[in-house]
């Protein structure tokens, strides 16, 4: 295992210390594992709080700032955070208008956020949660834990964050978050597995000419594997899976996301194919993101997220945002 770390045990704490040093706009509480806006809570504004296992950087701490999250709760690598973190974050960023949890649909995240929500409610703080489950690679059925939350998380955090900034009430923000989720689908493909500092070896094996289809973001193996194909073909597989589930037309936002070890030049090659696919389907790409937004440590590969926009969501997407990883308009 070759990693730029001091110690497998201290990676999360050391990286948080780095975030603290790098971003004066953040207040990083390394001990309690929470990352807050340094500006503190804003009275009358709903606090948008998210969190999840580490290893997906810049998610979630990189999205703390004006127009997006009020706080992020990073767990250990690939491990959902504990309720104390969300409780503390909610308490510290609560501005009197309630707290919105943005939760990715994984058993661990769901359970830990639920416990935090109960604890916050016990203190009289109103809490709502948006569950993100956009990954079409998981068949939505009673035979699984349900679809995973992946790329759409970034979109839900951006758009609920923008709406919260306007002073909108908790219920409306939660509904909007659910709407973004309902309009979004994702699919991921890995060229290589990732190596967690704890395991020190790849989480799965892939032959030199194999790719893993339908991966999530926890370095877990996907649903099937197939031969390495040209980018055009891999994009077709991903986009067909999305389009089968949510027929693509009208205005769409597209995110082509790298898994952490993917060079940007390859993401642009992928983006060209995604754009060509959508053009053929008659969809209209009106907003785009290309880069590393929700990653799996050093994994090579990509995910595509498509969200069917309407005018209101487009406006919220375009609203100013000022975070370490997403910034425009200020």
């Amino acid at each position: 295992m070759k990693k730029l770390i001091n110690d497998a045990e201290s990676v999360v704490a050391d990286a948080l210390a780095g975030m603290a040093a790098a971003h004066p706009s953040l207040r990083v509480d390394v001990r309690n594992r929470i990352v807050l806006r340094a500006s503190g809570p804003r009275p009358g504004k709903v606090a948008v709080v998210s969190g999840g296992g580490s290893g997906h950087e810049p998610l979630h701490a990189g999205y703390v700032g004006y127009g997006m999250l009020d706080a992020a709760c990073p767990g250990e690598i690939f491990t959902s955070p504990v309720p104390d973190q969300m409780l503390e974050a909610g308490q510290r960023m609560h501005g009197g208008a309630g707290v919105l949890f943005v939760v990715k649909n994984y058993t661990g995240d769901v359970l830990n956020f639920e416990m935090a929500a109960e604890a916050l409610a016990e203190e009289g703080i109103e809490v709502a949660s948006v569950l993100v489950n956009d990954d079409v690679a998981v068949q939505d059925s009673v035979y699984t834990a349900g679809r995973r939350g992946t790329g759409a998380t970034v979109l839900v955090e951006k758009i609920t964050g923008a709406l919260a900034e306007t002073g909108a009430p908790l219920a409306e923000i939660a509904l909007t978050g659910e709407e973004v989720n309902a309009r979004s689908r994702s699919f991921g493909i890995a060229l290589t597995p990732c190596v967690t500092p704890a395991a020190g070896e790849p989480t799965f094996e892939l032959g030199p000419n194999e790719v893993e289809l339908g991966i999530g973001i926890h370095g877990e193996p996907g649903r099937t594997r197939t031969a390495l194909e040209p980018a055009r073909e891999l994009v077709r597989i991903a986009m067909d899976a999305i389009n089968d589930d949510l027929p693509l037309s009208g205005d769409v936002l597209v995110m082509v996301n790298g898994m952490g070890g993917t060079p940007l030049i390859e993401l642009y090659v992928v983006f060209a194919e995604v754009a060509a696919y959508l053009r053929r389907k008659g969809a209209n790409v009106t907003r785009r993101l290309v880069g590393n937004y929700i990653t799996s440590l050093d994994m090579q590969g990509f995910s595509v997220t498509v969200c069917r926009l309407d005018e209101r969501l487009t406006l919220l997407w375009d609203a100013p945002v000022e975070t370490p990883a997403l910034r425009w308009g200020r």
């Binding site: 491990t79 661990g108 830990n112 699984t144 834990a145 395991a199 877990e220």
Partner: protein
């Protein structure tokens, strides 16, 4: 079985989980995300510290503290599940200073119910339930048969172990492994495996406490 007995159990769990940490992580790497060993090791290390700082007086409060500590330290799916189960077990034991086999069995059944309620998993879904449920059944039967605690806990440990091994052939329907569909078949569930380790620890402590010269359970 008194507070010291349960403290010894948790201590033994901490030892075994630490020892088996890489094994559990490897099982989790195959069908999950390679953190189960570290998660539980962090949790039981936390329990050890919590008990060192603050020694509860009754088995019930001891287990409740242990559960709370798991919830506060572990995260992931296993943290809330194991943590809440221990917490509810503690509650079920109430203020009693010593606990008989029947009470322990009832508490473990409460733990199982807690896991099922929170996680929604049934037997056969390839989760910790597949080790915990047969252990409860074996224990209940042993109570009905009136066997000695160490024998009863030994049967429970065997049942959990068998249950964990039986997960190999199952297709996961809950937790992270469920995303793999049929590809989850052929691998032993990490959570069921850690449950088997925890019940083996319970047996081992019961057996050693029952040895001549030791304080009996």
């Amino acid at each position: 079985m008194d507070t010291r007995f349960f403290a010894a159990w948790l201590e033994e769990c901490a030892r075994v989980v630490h020892e088996q940490r890489e094994y559990l992580t490897r099982l989790d790497a195959a069908i999950g995300d390679a953190d189960h060993g570290n998660n539980l090791d962090r949790g039981f290390t936390g329990i050890r510290q919590a008990l060192a700082e603050n020694a509860p007086k009754t088995p019930g409060s001891l287990l409740a503290l242990a559960g709370t500590t798991l919830v506060r330290k572990v995260g992931g799916a296993s943290g809330p599940l194991y943590g809440s189960a221990l917490r509810q077990m503690g509650k079920a034991l109430g203020d009693a200073e010593t606990v008989g086999l029947a009470e322990l069995t009832g508490a473990l059944e409460t733990g199982l119910q807690t896991v099922r309620r929170l996680g929604g998993a049934e037997v056969g879904d390839k989760t910790m339930v597949d080790a915990l449920a047969p252990a409860c059944v074996a224990l209940r039967r042993a109570v009905e048969e009136g066997v000695k605690p160490q024998e009863a806990l030994s049967r429970a440990a065997d049942a959990a172990d068998k249950g964990a091994k039986d997960t190999v052939s199952m297709q996961a329907r809950k937790g992270r492994a469920s995303y793999l569909g049929p590809r989850s078949i052929g691998h032993q569930d990490p959570g069921a495996t850690s449950t088997a380790l925890i019940l083996a620890a319970l047996r081992d402590v019961a057996v050693s406490w029952a040895e001549p010269g030791a304080a009996g359970p």
